[in-house]
Amino acid sequence: MTWRSRLVSPAGIAAAVGVLLFLFLAIAGPALFVAAAETSNVPARLLPPSLAHPFGTDDLGRDIFARVLVAARVSLLLTLGATVVSTVGGIAYGLIAVILPRHVRRLATGFLDVLLAFPWLLMVLFFTVIWSASAMTAMFAIGIAGIPFMARLVYNLASSVSGRDYVRAARVVGVGPFGILVRHILPNIANPLFVNAAATASVTLLSFAGLSFLGLGVQAPEYDWGRLLQDGVTRIYVNPLAAIGPGIAVVLAGLVFTFVSETLADTRGGGRSAVARRALGAVAPTRRSGAAAIARPALAAGEPVAEIADLRVAFGTADGGEVERVRGVGLRILPGEVVGIVGESGSGKSLTAMALAGLLGADARITTSSHTFDGIDMTRPLTAADRSTLGVELGMVFQDPLTSLNPALTIGRQLTEVPEVHLKMPRAKAREHAAAALEAVGIADARRRLSQYPHQFSGGMRQRAMIGQALTGRPKLIIADEPTTALDVTVQRQVMGVLRRAQRDTGAAIVFISHDIALVSAFCDRVLVMKDGLIVEELDAQRLREDATHPYSRALIACLPDMTSDRTQPLPVIPPELAAAALAEEVGV
């Protein structure tokens, strides 16, 4: 999100207008309204609200509305002061804690936790008591009471950044701890920090109103919104606006702070996480209602399990335009067939497969001339029964099982979902079914493993578990999107073996996506080569090297080093005129 688009959002406009208004009040308010606010006019005392006095007058005949406007400066200054104290203190404490040696760091964070457990109001009362009640005391008290929260936040943010490779890289070239804090950590945590500071400010404002209301904050004859509230509340039955007026000011200012924090908040990546959510929902359906998936009749000979024609997928760009990432792709998957899609990042291979599974997010603009899965017309809105069928017959295996398995649920919970929800099995039977699926993918001691969480599995085992999940239904199609890219060759071979066995046992078709043309050819029957959103060539996997005629396919084959590459020669690279659009600059060596 650019600053421009953030500012023209509703929250951005509200924040800008609010900040300008309060800035004006804080600067010009006292000069403009001080006469009405502070001149006693006893004959006009305790007047009810009227046009001349919107909130009425107080016991000395001063206009309450004018007093609210004048008090803006003190209230806002105190709030900002306290926020600055907590932010600066929090940053200092949090950052220093990050670079301390381990044992001292434990002590420092332990102390923070103790302070955090201590109610802040009690802490404020403690400070005001030892320093005597005054506006400044209240400011420092509230500011200091806010330090533990900020410090904890800074510490958590900073320790996550300090584990990044770029910080390690800086250490390798000899940048000292202080340099790393200032150059790398602070700039990268600044955004969430400001957001939180702005959010804290609105809470701080309320705390002030509370303290002044208790008589611990600003002392007469000085006044802020809290004091005005205190004065007004004694007459709330006679003139409610004397109390509500300053209350409105507090609420408005709090709102403005919240809008400011909203505007500062970085919402990049929201689209991506939405896609991930959708994908997850499809893999582990949580819908507990709906009809049981009935076993569908076998497909007639020659009838595809899934088919999509003239698929186009486009996304909106930041400047309102549209970029087409898949540009007219047709795919026809026969039952039991293993089809590989190979291409580089940005070739549209994953999008094509996700579209085939009906899993693309709402931000994708999809057009097809036809799209069926096992006889279901996927271009129409799906019924509950259709969705159940999809849940049972479609298996997905993603590149990173750590993000596609739910870390908070046991493997068993995730593997019994399909049998329980879609196949309507009783719990005990579903568990047996899940254990059988885990055994089928070669996980020993499956019953015990079912009660473990994904993080207790190794990378290869998680990938097996995901394949096992696909097996808990009656899969007719398994889509495997770079399932072994994060794995070593030996584990890769095991996972591919499991996938192959799963395919043999269930007769499911597989769409296998990878950027490794050798792996695709070693596993699939048929290989589609994709580039820039188009299928450039379709080949028999066994005869890839002999049959490939498209220069891009040939280049992909040539640039992959294998165990026979000539080590004395530079590796062939894809010539620039052939390179995928997104990579054009990349290979121009």
Binding site: V172, M496, A555, V587
Partner: protein, 256 residues
């Protein structure tokens, strides 16, 4: 004369020994490939060599000078050893221009640069890795994965190292980009006389770039030797297993 010697190195995380009594030698101007599965301790060796983790035992020597432990001489020797990270997306500070990232690494060279000299040197380094020097002011977001990896290579070269440690530097890249980066490394090695420790789990890549190969498993070196010799006649079952698992174009992979 050996550029890098790792002598009986052990590293422990808590009670787990992740690197167990490992000795490696990178001769000057040569490349040693280190292969093994993830969790075998390959990356920990790299981290220990450049001082990111403290070894429990053993010694790292750069050009004969002890580089492990404290002291000025050790620190200086460590700077002669630079590391290129696996993931080009996390290895560059997203808020810093690539020029600044490279300039920051110039301090590892131990030379003092004037402002102009610094700018000139950054441009020179970018040209060396075939990137447009006029893009020094751009942040990493403006670059693709392969281009970022070139930037991290330039950053490692800024310290004027004698040894470059490349830790899985192509595994996050597309195959076509991988080839270009490997070619770049070989070209740099030839032109700058670099020695390299090349860590990867991809045997085909290691074979292509290395003069010698060491195979690692469970924190130990199980087999090592000159590339052709080792791959032609491996004696360890694990090495055979690794060789066997490499997918070959057009050859059907046997099921498990």
């Amino acid at each position: 004369m050996n550029a890098l010697e790792i002598d009986r190195l052990s590293v422990r995380y808590g009670r787990t020994t992740v690197v167990d009594d490992v000795s490696l030698v990178v001769p000057a101007g040569r490349t040693l490939g280190l292969v093994g599965e993830s969790g075998s301790g390959k990356s920990t060796i790299a981290a220990a060599a450049v001082g990111l983790v403290a070894p429990a035992a053993g010694e790292v020597r750069v050009g004969g000078v002890v580089a492990s432990g404290g002291g000025k001489a050790a620190r200086e020797a460590r700077r002669r050893l630079q590391l290129v990270f696996q993931d080009p997306f996390s290895a560059l500070d997203p808020r810093m221009s690539i020029g600044d990232s490279i300039a920051e690494a110039l301090r590892a060279s131990g030379r003092a640069f004037s402002r102009d000299a610094r700018v000139a040197r950054v441009r020179e380094l970018l040209t060396l890795v075939h990137l447009d020097p006029d893009r020094a002011g751009d942040t990493p977001a403006a670059f693709s994965g392969g281009q970022r990896q070139r930037v991290t290579i330039a950053r490692a070269l800024a310290g004027e190292p004698s040894v470059l440690i490349a830790d899985e530097i192509t595994s996050a890249l597309d195959v076509s980009v991988q080839g270009a980066i490997l070619n770049l490394l070989r070209e740099l090695q030839e032109n700058l006389g670099l020695s390299m420790l090349f860590i990867s789990h991809n045997l085909a890549v290691v074979r292509y770039i290395s003069d010698e190969i060491a195979v690692m498993r469970h924190g130990r070196i199980v087999e090592s030797g000159p590339t052709e010799q080792l791959l032609a006649a491996p004696t360890e079952p694990y090495t055979l297993d690794l060789l066997d698992a490499v997918p070959v174009l057009g050859v059907r992979m046997a099921a498990e």
